[in-house]
């Protein structure tokens, strides 16, 4: 079935178009993003169970962007009444004039920017889904997750808690200008299986996730993930500490995704180029990785949690080859950064929600596959680790440092897994070294979309990342 576009947004469209006409008397450019995204989140554990209609991306509201004299301003509201458009226009004008008076009083200068183009675009997209979060059978889902949690508890005597989480969001967004009328509707879902074990006062957590551009039907895949999650937690109980040093490593697809995201995801967000905050600006058309490294970024790269038709600034989604056989080709760009850099936007202008500013943000960041097998990669290592499970990462685009917290490493000696596990692992390094040392890539790939991404320590949005197993060298601690 098609995910139906929001009747609420359809109902306020004419009013918003009228608002644009009124504000155009005062401003040279006016755009509006209106959102109405509904969701379902079910969390089941042995000790606490809940059903909610909120997910990370549920929202209903309107953000108005205006432009005059080289300056962009925005106003966000969530009580738009199509019957009181003049009043809303007054509310916006009054607030922005008050702000302007403070800016004038403090002598604040403006980063003079050109006006966005407003070429006509009409688009109406409803993507396919089997189910909708707002109409799915919640009772069946609760029972399914409850059974999963119970099954997980029975998998090990060390289990103290087992969580099965499922959330699904029906995104509806409408972007309007004087000449644009763009509507999209799609559903994405994500689920996690989390196992908590305890032995001799020592606790460990294992988790696995699933995600996709689909409805709650996705959660049928959680059964297999729970088995893996429990196995990981139990294995971690016997994990030792790693001897710090530089090792040959094989990154599992999840860790590969983390590297892609932290190394050259944030590093080529081009609003950072405007601020001169990213070293990548100086490396376009230069080598940043081995010849095996090709990396894509864009909402069109794959179908997953952030595979939209247009971004939050009304730019059509794209698929950008950021790194082509080791050579950095380009970055990703929101609309205002593109104006400031004299380039084209790539469909990566994203907001946490209608209340937040649009920044250049990642969507799907993915390493291309190679032609090796995991077995060949393991056989090629004298002493190193197969790294599995990601905890978190942090980038330093200005310095190209990278920090990844990884769940565990499986020791490899003389081309074989020894069975010894170390955890947790902090992987650090210099991005060009890490990518430059990539010597093998597996032929398969996986994509992960259960996490969120911040800019600094805020502005959380959905992203995915992934790729194949990859072999390189890194400093582990």
């Amino acid at each position: 079935m098609k995910a139906p576009f929001s009747p609420y947004l359809s109902g306020i469209k004419a009013g918003l178009q009228e608002l644009i006409r009124i504000l155009r008397r005062e401003y040279d450019y006016v755009s509006i993003l209106a959102t109405d995204s509904r969701g379902l989140a079910v969390r089941i554990s042995q000790h606490a169970r809940s059903v909610a209609s909120e997910t990370m991306t549920t929202e209903r509201g309107v953000v108005v962007r205006v432009y005059k004299n080289g300056q962009y301003s925005e106003y966000a509201l969530n009580e738009f009444d199509p019957g009181q458009v003049e009043e809303t226009a007054d509310q916006i004008l009054t607030a922005l004039r008050k702000q302007q008076s403070i800016l004038d009083a403090t002598g604040s200068k403006v980063y003079n920017t050109a006006m966005l183009r407003d070429e006509p675009v009409t688009l109406f997209v409803e993507k396919e889904t089997e189910q909708l979060p707002e109409t799915t059978d919640v009772r069946k889902l609760v029972e399914k997750l409850g059974a999963l949690s119970d099954a997980g508890m029975a998998m090990s005597e060390h289990m103290i808690e087992c969580m099965a989480n499922a959330q699904s969001t029906h995104i509806c967004k409408m972007f309007l200008t004087e000449h644009r009328d763009m509507c999209q509707s799609y559903v994405y879902s994500e689920g996690t299986a989390v196992a908590v074990v305890s032995r001799d006062g020592r606790n460990q957590i294992g988790y696995e996730g699933v995600s996709g551009l689909c409805g709650p039907e996705l959660f049928d895949q959680l059964q297999d993930k729970m088995t893996k999650s429990v196995a990981m937690a139990v294995e971690l109980l016997d994990a030792g500490r790693i001897e710090p040093g530089e090792y040959e490593i094989i990154a599992s697809p999840e860790v590969t995704g983390l590297i892609a995201h932290e190394a050259f995801g944030h590093g080529v967000e081009m609003d950072m180029f405007v601020k001169n905050r990213a070293l990548g600006k100086e490396y376009v058309d230069r080598r940043v990785g081995s010849d095996l490294v090709t990396m894509h970024e864009g909402a069109l790269c794959t179908d997953n949690v952030t595979s939209y038709a247009f971004d939050d600034e009304g730019t059509l989604a794209g698929d950008v080859v950021e790194i082509d056989h080791g050579i950095l080709k380009t970055g990703i760009c929101d609309a205002l950064a593109a104006l400031r850099l004299g380039t084209e936007p790539t469909g990566n202008g994203k907001r946490e929600n209608f209340e937040h500013k649009a920044y250049t943000r990642m969507t799907n960041t993915i390493f291309d596959s190679g032609d090796s097998t995991l077995e060949e990669m393991i056989a090629s290592i004298r002493h190193g680790y197969l790294l599995e499970g990601m905890e978190s990462g942090m980038e330093d685009p200005k310095h190209w440092g990278i920090q990844c917290i990884i769940k565990m490493g499986r020791e490899i000696k003389d081309g074989r897994l020894t069975g010894k596990i170390v955890a947790p692992i902090i992987m650090t390094g210099y991005v060009p070294d890490l990518l430059g040392n990539i010597s093998m890539l597996s032929g398969d790939r996986e994509i992960f979309g259960t996490g969120g991404c911040g800019k600094g320590y805020k502005e959380w949005v959905k992203v995915t990342d992934g790729g194949p197993y990859l072999k390189t060298k890194a400093r582990l601690g």
């Binding site: 702000q99 200068k109 980063y111 808690e161 606790n203 440092g401 650090t428 805020k458 601690g477």
Partner: protein
Amino acid sequence: MLDTIVKLLKESGVHAWELNDVKTEGWEFYFIRHELDQNRAKHVEHISVKVYQLIDDGKFMGSASAELPPTATEDEARRLIGDLAYRATLVKNRPYPLNPLTEAHRETLHSAPVDVSGIARAFLETMQQLPETATEDINSYEIFVNAKTRRFLNSEGIDVEEIYPDSMIEVVVNARRDGHEIELYRNYQSGSCDAVGLKRDLARTMQYGKDRLHTAPTPALGQADVLFTTSDATRIYDYFVDRLSAQMVYLRMSDWQLGKPIADEIKGDKVSVTLVRELENSSMNRAFDAEGAPIHDTVILRAGVPEKYCGSRMFASYLGLEDSFIPSNVLVEGGTHSEQELRAGKYLEVVEFSDFQVDPMTGDIFGEIRLAYWHDGERTVPVSGGSVSGSMHDFVKDMLLSEESVQYNNYRIPALTLLKNVTVTGAES
């Protein structure tokens, strides 16, 4: 709309309900260098409703929650509440009572209006008065000033409203030398603008930036004493608060017991933690938590011995705790050592991490070092690279705290915290 929702909740026949209504007037200013990238304003209202139903003759209780749009019609709100009433019957938890109406709910609360434009102007002027130089300056900053009006109601009769300021400024500092430029990131949260504190900390940050351009690789120290003198130390104290949270204790993810020391043979300073309702200019000053529980000053850890667990109504109730609440401000008592004593001997003072983390469940700490000072007893050398790691389970036995305190928004903690025998992976090969 709020009155309509309350009326519909009362008519719905659900066992119990809670409602949070937060109105925000927000002003935001984004700067590249000192030029305005964009200004933003917002006027929004978020109404969150949670309903509870008894199941199986009261043996269980379920809950379901949703945000109701302020634009919802009465019919739409009735349907949404009806959905919640049904969904709440699908999940079975142990029953517990919601927070009751008490004398504390009749107190006079923060009700003075917040001067958003005045606070915003103070931030704008403060950022124009920083001691920037040709080699250390401000790359960009983002100012957020919010006036929040929060009303909480529940089916037990609680109906309270608070008005408070909530501000944040994110600042990126650059330092350069011989064509090489680095950046340092800062994120300050507060009630209103703390101009003096902001200027002082950004001046210190610019000095850190200057030093980071002169670093040597962090030596492979193996085990070393590590001194925390920045806001990263709040993560260390989160460990203590989290280990005493009702949820972690109930879920057996924390084994800390009331009246029993958190570790055997504590040789260092014994940590004392109090949850407090007010800290000067904290953005978290609240009279009531998100579930309507009154917040009052409460000692949870005294001299290394747990005195009280604290947390949400559900888990607090399961543990049999009365007058519990969700923590907002944290006060950690100073220790027994002067700064001079803590700075004696060899130690690594880490002032910039990529992302310092403390896992409350496993106790693991880790962070990549972006800037540290290695004090070898005679000289002080700026270093970078490598990482620190170890376990709080071990560190609590001999950590040392300064007598002096410092405040980072909703934390007042010892100005210096020394962890002993931390694993330091060097950047030297």
